[in-house]
Structures are given as C-alpha cells and as structure tokens.
Amino acid sequence: MRLSIYRFNPETDLKPRMQDYELAPEAGDKKLLDALMRLKTIDDSLSFRRSCREGVCGSDAMNINGRNGLACLTPLVGLKEPVVLRPLPGFPVIRDLIVDMTQFFAHYHSIKPYLINDTVPPERERLQSPAEREKLNGLYECILCACCSSFCPSFWWNPDKFIGPAGLLQAYRFISDSRDTATAERLAYLDDVYRLFRCRTIMNCTEVCPKGLSPSHAIERIRQALVRESS
C-alpha cells in the first residue's frame, strides 16, 4: 500500500513536508494503526501517538484522507491510496502526527468535568433512577480524542475562546447528570458569546466522531437548557 505522511521535525525542518512510503501489510494488519506500527519498524523517525489500539484511549486521532479519525479503528480495506495522513487540523504540531493538545484540555478543564454536589453525601452512594442514568448515554462515552474539535471550523477560528464540541459535550454530560447540583453555575459559565455561541451548527463534530456521539446535539440541548433557565 502507498502512504503519504506529514513530516515535521522542529529541530531540523524549517517547514513541514509530505513523505511517501510503500508498505506491504502482513496478514495480521487489519487497521491503519497496524500499518503505522509496521512503518515504524522501517522508519523509526516517524512519530505518532498510540496506546490502547482499540478505540478507547483516543491517542491516535489524526486526519486520514482529509477526514479526522482514529487510526486504530480505521480498516485498511477500503482506504483510498495513497493514504494521506496529516496531524489533527487546527492544532499546533509538535512533531509529525503529534499535536499539542494543551489548549484542548484547558477548555475541557474549564467546564469543571467532575460532579459538583454540596449536599451531605449519603452513606453509600448517590443513586440514580434508570431514566436519570439513561440521560448520560451518548455523553459519557467521549474519549477526548479531539477528532470533533479539530474538525470544527468554529474551533479553528477561535481556538482560544470557543470551548469546542468535545468540551461542550462533556459540559452537557454534567449538566444532565441528576447527581450534579451546579447546573445553574455551569449554564452561567457557558452563556457567553464565545464559549458556547460560536457554534454555527456546522455539525462536522457529529460527522467525524469515531464513537458515534453527537456533540452538536449536546450543544443544542445546552442552548435549550439556557433558554429554560432564563425564562
């Protein structure tokens, strides 16, 4: 198979370049990450992140043939050649396919991604009804791979101010949690022309989420919650 991969080493390169590779996948190579791992044995200077290799850690998010995805979940079969691999768009490149996610996680931390409940804790645990727990489905599964935020034009335009689809999906995960008592504070924080309302409902986030989640739907629900809160 043929691959064309974005290469950039800040220590030696003035500007990035695309490097072509020819690779013969072996029988066990099913996913794009398998091919990249095999390529790494040929060219050990190629840098990319990976860890769990099964779509749980979100480390190997990259732009694959113009579309963000996880290398470990992308089948080799059906990939158009040459397979063009680039780092996540809109993120500063550290080296090759590795991007700097500092700002992405700063946005994530800004929405206080943990349960806030000032009431006296019960002896064992805060129970939820099945219906209350059901509301978290489609939200808690986010692995923070950044495929969505990196494919969002609103995030490209204002990466320092717009929280982005991943952060907003996580924000709604806690807003909709029956055990959380800080809904009003969370909504007040999000009621901002940049943090939430830069979303133009382009829906690239929902289109590329490798876990099949819908950040745009979560953003819409936050907007509805804001309207309900203020009416």
Partner: protein, 114 residues
C-alpha cells in the same frame, strides 16, 4: 451590551427569523391571491394600517437579524477589536438608517393623510 451577548442574541436571531418567515409567507400569500398585483393594489396594501405596521415590523426584524448575523461573522473572522467595532458600527448605522427611513416614510404618509 448584554442584550447582544450569549443566548440573548441567539434567541433574538431566531425570533426575528421566525417573524421574517411568517411575514414573507403572509406577503407571498397576499400577493399570490386576490386580483392581479398592479400599482393601485400594491399602494393600497402598503398604506393600509395593517400593511404599514407589518412592513415596519418586517424591516425592524430584518435589521436586527442582519446585524446579529454580521456580528457573528465578525466574531468568527475579524479578530482585530477596532476593525470589528468599526465594521459593526457601520453595518449597524446602515441597517438602522434603513429601518428609520421605512418608519419615516410610513409616518409621512399617514401624517399627510393620503
């Protein structure tokens, strides 16, 4: 201006969009039904009390909707504060002038008793 921040601008944009949609549909239905549209009928529609009020409401909603839309584009693409402020001021004045012009035209018509 708090009115144009966060969800208020977002709600205003959608409310004005609904107003515009309703008035456009109403206008289309009015024009497509009844006798052929000539100058006399157009004049009568525009200068009736209901017609005049709806035209003013339409242009007011259009001005507000347009300004919020331009503001959104400016927030996305123009990051220099003074340039953005200048653009929003110019567009705001232009849209406001259009609305005032419509109001004055209608007011002059009714004041003249025509």
């Amino acid at each position: 201006m708090r009115l144009f921040l966060g969800q208020r601008a977002w709600v205003l944009q959608r409310v004005t969009a609904l107003v515009l949609l309703f008035l456009l549909a109403l206008g289309a239905a009015t024009l497509l039904t009844g006798p052929p549209l000539d100058y006399e009928r157009w004049h009568a529609l525009a200068t009736s009390t209901h017609g005049a009020v709806l035209i003013v409401v339409f242009f007011a909603a259009l001005g507000l909707h347009g300004w919020i839309g331009v503001r959104d584009i400016a927030l996305d693409y123009i990051h220099a504060p003074m340039l953005r402020l200048a653009l929003l001021a110019v567009v705001g004045v232009l849209l406001f002038a259009i609305v005032i012009r419509v109001v004055l035209t209608m007011a002059a018509h009714f004041a003249g008793g025509a």
